[in-house]
């Protein structure tokens, strides 16, 4: 008996439609539960930071939002590239479905960063390599969405968007390594083992719970949106 999963069966938008609905619902429920757990750990278990006081608690949404902004871009570019290379309709639809959620998390990373920068650096915004490259990421998402919206034929819009998405992926490692390559005001990677273990572990737990919650939320939102796109196009 063959145990091969029929992956190509799910590559058809019609067969994927009900599966996407079920996955979206359960991802959404799990995201909400993880967010409650993450917020509880973040506000009631994780201690006050020795240097920053309470304002550091922005980290529980800032870092997960920034991670998602970069991760979603790579996933979006991946599906756009698959759609461009193999002409698979669903792949291009996934790319279009991810873009608005990616743009949202990019905006939130910038917003929470600004509100964290003001009390710690004394400025909402600085033209630092990390902040500037993250702002450029927002423009890439918005550019992708605007380009697709400007072209009437969906297949042509997919191809044009894919080229932009693939070229823009170069920006992701630039954001990630910006704190090492340039002398930035933004601090280095926050997940490190150099801090006091008792502090780091509860803070890290809260941050990872929120990252998981945002990740599942992104899955739920993207799948809900791809269902709309399937209905609208087919």
């Amino acid at each position: 008996m063959s145990t091969t999963i029929k992956w190509f069966w799910f590559a058809s938008p019609q067969t994927f439609f009900p599966l996407a609905g079920t996955l979206a619902r359960w991802s959404g429920v799990l995201a909400a539960l993880l967010a409650v757990a993450g917020l509880y750990v973040g506000f009631f278990v994780a201690p006050t930071d020795a240097q920053q006081g309470e304002v550091y608690r922005i980290i529980f949404i800032h870092v997960p939002a920034a991670w998602m902004s970069m991760f979603l871009y790579v996933v979006m570019a991946f599906w756009a590239a698959i759609g461009l290379a193999f002409n698979t309709r669903l792949s291009s639809m996934m790319a279009s479905a991810i873009a608005p959620t990616g743009a949202l998390f990019t905006f939130l990373a910038l917003w929470t960063g600004a509100l964290w920068g003001r009390p710690t650096w004394g400025a909402y915004w600085v033209w630092d390599a990390r902040l500037t490259s993250e702002l450029f990421l927002l423009f890439l998402y918005l550019g992708f969405m605007a380009l697709q919206a400007a072209i009437d034929d969906p297949r042509r819009a997919d191809r044009a968007g894919a080229v932009l998405a693939i070229v823009g992926v170069v920006n992701v490692p630039i954001i990630y390594y910006s704190v090492q390559w340039w002398n930035t005001l933004h601090q280095g990677a926050s997940v490190s083992l150099t801090r006091a273990p008792s502090m780091a572990s509860t803070m890290l737990t809260g941050m990872l719970l929120m990252a998981l919650a945002f990740w599942l939320y992104s899955i739920a939102a993207s799948l809900a949106r791809v269902r709309c796109i399937i209905r609208e196009r087919e």
């Binding site: 959620t101 509100l115 003001r118």
Partner: protein
């Protein structure tokens, strides 16, 4: 437990504006996205 009471919790060590400004906008943005997605799904179905 970190807080002596709710007023201390909302004050966030005097940085309440920055902390709650971050959280409020984040959850409002996600709620708006969910609302827009539900509306789009309803319209796509019709």
């Amino acid at each position: 437990m970190n807080w002596g009471g709710w007023s201390e919790f909302w004050a966030m060590g005097g940085k309440g504006f920055y902390v709650w400004g971050s959280y409020a906008v984040t959850f409002a943005a996600l709620a708006i996205e969910v609302y827009l997605l539900r509306r789009r799904a309803r319209e796509a179905k019709a």
